[in-house]
Symmetry: D2
């Protein structure tokens, strides 16, 4: 099993900005999704193959705190961590920064379902994950 956390660089695209000149707040969720994908890849996983095999991770909860705006062409860094694994749910935390300044913090909960939308036990789909325990106790952003 690979690492519990992973960091990726992200360049803000023009089409992701809004009329205020900021990275639009909805687009942060797309970045967090990239963070999950790349963390899973770094762990040796492959979301696409998992979906081809009939297992899907759906977001059931998302909580974001936006601290400082980001702008077009900003080079951001996104750190994604798995912080909890239960039989039915997978919890991630995210920290998006620019030159060490926190842009946003977030936390999400995912559930695993099959093609028919039935909830699946994560331990049946990714057995390795159920042995994961976060290295540090993590507090939800206050």
């Amino acid at each position: 099993m690979g690492p519990y956390e992973h960091e990726i660089p992200i360049r803000v695209r023009y089409c992701e900005t809004d009329a205020m000149g900021f990275l639009h707040h909805a687009n942060f969720l797309c970045l967090f999704e990239m963070g999950r994908t790349e963390l899973f890849r770094a762990q040796g996983g492959d979301y696409r193959k998992m979906e081809e095999g009939g297992h899907f991770f759906v977001v059931v909860e998302m909580n974001v705190k936006y601290r400082v705006p980001a702008r077009f062409d900003d080079l951001l860094s996104l750190r994604t961590r798995v912080v909890r694994v239960t039989p039915a749910k997978l919890e991630h935390e995210y920290k998006l920064t620019r030159d060490g300044v926190t842009i946003a913090e977030a936390q999400s909960v995912l559930a695993c379902v099959d093609r028919e939308g039935r909830v699946r036990r994560i331990s049946d789909v990714i057995p390795e994950l159920t042995e994961m325990r976060p290295r540090h106790p993590i507090e939800r952003p206050a």
Copy 2:
């Protein structure tokens, strides 16, 4: 068979704007897609049911001329017309206006494929469409 053309009102969303304060040029394609969906509905069709039945219309060509910028909260009007139907392709034209001023004009070509991506004859999927002939000869935007 219903009408060859259809007009819908569209309010520009904040998340569709960009840092210039304009409706971002990529989002026009989403509006044109809505125009096709609503035209097909006005004709008695149902894109969703068609997809559930295993037939998909994929965009194979899109040509857009952007005339005047649109902004957040602008109330636009989109006119969508079917202008040509061949055994394998379906051609639409679009005119997006605000208070009579042309914001953009576009033209698209769609092909019909099945779940495996194989091209299907449109006449097999929507027999009524193949009898359609545009009421007015239409020129591509110069």
Copy 3:
């Protein structure tokens, strides 16, 4: 001052779906933004004019619980309510439903800033809002 809550119909667009066939979870935030815009309009306000006047509402917090997936062409109903107004922040709640079934619930916090990004007192920008009090005590979704 107009109503504290407002309901709008929303048709799921094709471009808003993802490879699971669902309304992508990031796009919910665009719908909530529409809800705020239309609630403000129903109250006699105009976000665009407010921005032209140099006042901007930025999202500082967003919490979403996704209950049931939505799909292309679903006709949803979004109810948006102002639930708290403090000198510096504006809190909304959202409930997105389809035929009475809850698709998602959410809660957001907005702050008001000027062109330079400085926090402004909401009472200076929209005096009427500061007199608002929610009609019902609202609990955050559990």
Copy 4:
């Protein structure tokens, strides 16, 4: 002056897919925009600084031919070239490929405007560009 063309890798994001499982056709325009930004950067330019200086490039025409669908997590390659520079317009061509297979080809026309939307001479904004001549005569995709 830097190169006339530039190539960048692009990983298809989940949020960019649609219910067919394909990279949605509107999102290609966001990728092409990234291609222009990175080509300009490779030439020593900086779109963001240019905008801060009050000059904006707006898309006035976009023509795309979609050849083969792309899917989530596909690693694509985008080649962007400047193919024509006139006093008022800038023309680019794009080729998006996956493992050598052409996914899409496109061509766009941009105009330069100031904050008030008035057309500006490109030679006044980026003098170096007006001396550019494409290395190969380029045909528009047939």
